[in-house]
Point group: C2
Chain length 238, copies 2
């Protein structure tokens, strides 16, 4: 085997698929590629990301968190590693490996910096027309994988709660599930299930509205909760 010093090293990057609910739709934060010569995919959209800095980034997750903070200013979103892609073909500049994360956050916490830069990040509906076609590199593949993971996990976790503000109603929560799933869910079963999972608690406040006010809830735990699966013996508590 060759020694590591003499091995040709691939470039290593981290990309982040940042999701939020904007205008009642699931949207992803995209940046525009610089439109100058020599840059790959000029003018295309891309997931925020960049090279790993071996001096600044103590870990891959720290690197993803840094990218996320740079684009959104948000410091503590839900962040999960999605997977890695690597090949000689995905970037014309050579063999690259990218480690992709996906993040969930409340859009209200984000102030997008639109100060004249062309590369300013913007929200784009995940199912919007031609988003896939306008994405550079293999980012359409990465985004599709992130969406698939998210929609799959929503079926059995509390992930959509991380798209909401600090306090929310059960209807807000159900709406977040439905927005992500792009499908209606049953109100009765939904409420039973959420309360049984015991990851939210009433704040004691209500939200005033033009109709009957709804109880407000907050997260009891900052980590996502898994709903019950199968094969579990009856007696168990976890």
């Amino acid at each position: 085997m060759k020694m590591p010093q003499t091995m040709e090293r691939p470039l290593a990057t981290v990309d982040v698929a940042i999701f939020a609910i904007v205008d009642n739709a699931l949207q992803v934060l995209l940046v525009r590629r610089p439109d100058c010569a020599g840059e790959p995919f000029p003018g295309c959209w891309a997931l925020p990301g960049g090279y790993i800095d071996v001096h600044k980034d103590a870990s891959l997750e720290a690197c993803a968190m840094r990218k996320l903070r740079e684009k959104t200013g948000v410091r503590s979103p839900y962040l999960e590693q999605l997977g890695s892609w690597g090949s000689a073909k995905r970037d014309p500049r050579g063999y690259t490996i990218t480690c992709v994360y996906f993040a969930l956050l409340n859009a209200e916490l984000v102030t997008l910096d639109h100060s004249g830069k062309v590369e300013a990040p913007t929200w784009q509906p995940v199912d919007g027309d031609g988003v896939r076609e306008r994405l550079g590199f293999d980012h359409a593949t990465l985004l599709a994988a992130a969406l698939q993971r998210l929609r799959n996990k929503v079926e059995y976790t509390s992930l959509p709660a991380f798209l909401l503000p600090e306090s929310f109603t059960l209807s807000d929560l159900q709406s977040a599930y439905e927005t992500v799933l792009n499908r209606a869910v049953d109100k009765s079963a939904f409420r039973t299930r959420m309360l049984a999972a015991d990851f939210i608690e009433p704040t004691g406040e209500q939200r005033a509205s033009v109709t009957r006010p709804a109880l407000l809830y907050r997260l009891k735990v900052r980590t996502p909760v898994l709903f019950p699966r199968t094969f579990s013996p009856r007696g168990e508590t976890g």
Copy 2:
């Protein structure tokens, strides 16, 4: 931002956690680190792995498949990407990123090459005494993550079927589930569930034994099957 050419590049490797059932126990294939000076973690055990070859490895998965084939000779196991770990501290030689895969295969297909080499791979029980302590690098962490992913997925997928030979009985399959989960599961519900998932079919043969012979089955599909989850409307077929 710095140009990629001037960026200090981390080393990129791929490691593989290869699982099989040996002696009725879930075991993982480990290799021994060379015991010479200058090598990190001399004499320790480690997951099989190595540097990505930007000329030979068309993708990360191709690299993992290559490592797997080199150690086991098996060409088409179940292979799934687990995740990536990167930091300056996990290898004394510098900042490294490793992309970890896990594989499931039937131990009978593997012929371990024990021709005098010290680095020969060997099966080790995953819950064996001190396996964690004897692992070099952060491979104890990687192995624990692989085990967690595997045990979690077993609850709702057909993964254990990939640990069996081409034809097997339902009792064999149940035994594989129980070996991975380290727990007994109900026979009746198990059989109903496996047959309902419709991923195996009878071969038409029986296995003779000292007691009543059992029907043999084979996989209908080579891809893993997900068992039903929740939130699904009644009418749907998939």
